[in-house]
Subunit: 378 residues, 2 copies
Amino acid sequence: MKYQRERINRAQRLMKEHGILALMLMNRDDFRYFFGEIRVQPRAIIPAQGTPQVICFHAEESEIREQLPEVGVLSFRHVGEQMSAVSKTFRSLAKELHPVGDADPEDKPRIGMQLWFSTPAFLVDLFRKLNPGIELVSSDPVMDPLRMIKAPEEIDRLRRAQEIAGLGMDRIRSLLVPGVTGLDLAAEATCTMLKAGASGTSTPIHINIGLQTCWIHGKADRTVVKAGDLVVVDFTPRFDGYCANLARTFVVGRPNPRQQELIDAYLEMREVTREALQPGAAVSRLDKLGKEVCERHGLGEHHINGIAHGIGLRFEETPASTIIPQHRTVKIQENMTMTIGHTVLAVPGYGGVRFEDIYRVTPEGGELLTKYPAEVGV
Amino acid sequence: MKYQRERINRAQRLMKEHGILALMLMNRDDFRYFFGEIRVQPRAIIPAQGTPQVICFHAEESEIREQLPEVGVLSFRHVGEQMSAVSKTFRSLAKELHPVGDADPEDKPRIGMQLWFSTPAFLVDLFRKLNPGIELVSSDPVMDPLRMIKAPEEIDRLRRAQEIAGLGMDRIRSLLVPGVTGLDLAAEATCTMLKAGASGTSTPIHINIGLQTCWIHGKADRTVVKAGDLVVVDFTPRFDGYCANLARTFVVGRPNPRQQELIDAYLEMREVTREALQPGAAVSRLDKLGKEVCERHGLGEHHINGIAHGIGLRFEETPASTIIPQHRTVKIQENMTMTIGHTVLAVPGYGGVRFEDIYRVTPEGGELLTKYPAEVGV
């Protein structure tokens, strides 16, 4: 573990700026960002002022104290103790940092939390019930300015994660013949990625075969690959906490003209999006350009918004407009890392294609982090 | 996909009994239970009366209609359309099935949702905001009576999942020597399980080495195994949607007396719990018996509640008292499937042990689903 003092300091400045009393961390990625290590169901409190508190099972306390001497430790033996330690900490912080005015009883101290896929509704409901004097708000105004802009060591890890995804993709290319199943391919490619240093994947293994290429999400199942099939593969191995996202479309054999048309449109959409991935552009502009490409190919009715999303310690992070439509107005900044190729271009009842890579935003457009070929035929 | 008519019928009877207008399904396990297939981020509405509606991306519609002719399909192109389709369906159901009385404006129609780890808070908050006329409630009163009791075909799949976990454990046993790292072991064992038919794992790979054996959660990292180390391995591969949970403790070399004492206490706790896993016993009784064992071994202060939890299509399902303390009062029933060995018995600063298996509840106590040795030395 490694205490990231500078990141904590910056978060505290942003908390004060946004009137947030403390952050309640409940997710692996923010914990990794501040304390340098991935933990399952980590819990920590970062106050706007003063010392962060890590909350842990009592038998882990001595180890945390040794590895993170800069933090306080609140230890628990069961979930009830954990919750009362949290409530007590917030009450004490509120007393210290948020004196209640007589004027406005609605002026509750605000606690920031990452409200994203890994923050369960039942825990948030319980948190609200146990802390009625607190207003729970999204931690995005504090975390986004920090995490959207990547440091060189973060970009290195993303690059390595993406290289590992490429090794998995190589394995698929070598095995993709009629008769093989999605589960067979998934097992082989996952082994390759794990042995190359991945700690797991951010999403279920995505090997969509034939009509499954129309789906927005991925799976691997017992579907058997046939000659002529479209196959969309999307790999998301994690390396040292950082998430890859590499998608490719293959045709088992040679693409027919209709498949080739879809592929050509997608690759053209990728290129115009890459050029537009410059500081100052709004996310919505990327989709507008992509739609124009699809229209030129007579595929406008199949265009879906959301070609690009942020990526880092979380597989999808701000901006992620397919999840949070308001992110369409987010302005792109230099050294953000974003994927291009998130949305499927699918003809219902026929099939779909995708090619996704990670880019760093530069004034010259997206700089590809890790090169991987876009050859389609296998 | 396979429409599970009988399960839908039973769910609808329970919805009427509990005054629930409809279930909003947002998770893989309930979707698998009713429609026979795992999907990523599935969405479906099961009304208390009438035809279930599956909600899908527009390019998936024809496939769903073909595979599930028994259901209605609501298709969307983007997240906004999806949400308005859901709201519209609920308004129409409320009009049909929940006529508003003049007497009580607070009498809102109730929609049941699985409020568990995979249901994100931000989606639930949005759901509440978009559907102010609805009261969101837990779907447990409908789903628990159905899902807690396992059919023979479910038990077969759990058994197979657990066999696959055993193959992963064999791989660990063959590789566990000084110098190997947690990540090395994780990669090899995961490959073995995937190639044996697992579709993935329910939890991050758990190979805790040395002091990490004190943790309540697992991880695999670059920690190097040393002679004499305790190593706790917990595998959770999924087979056809059903979740395994096999944990074993190893000592690299021969256990020393202190390690052996912990191991003996745990295995004794496992046996008394297994005997008590009979219809009619409350979950809290299992912990009481386990605590008595720990006390006899002079380890009472290290005992933690939560020795057993339900398992099936979800890795932890009702009863799961370490997550929902109220589940301590759940009465065990025949043909429930439960793990024994969930909680770590850890001496802070020294190390911990666990041995976890899956059992079917019978009047004679827990019937082990899949035998796996508890030999500790490697």
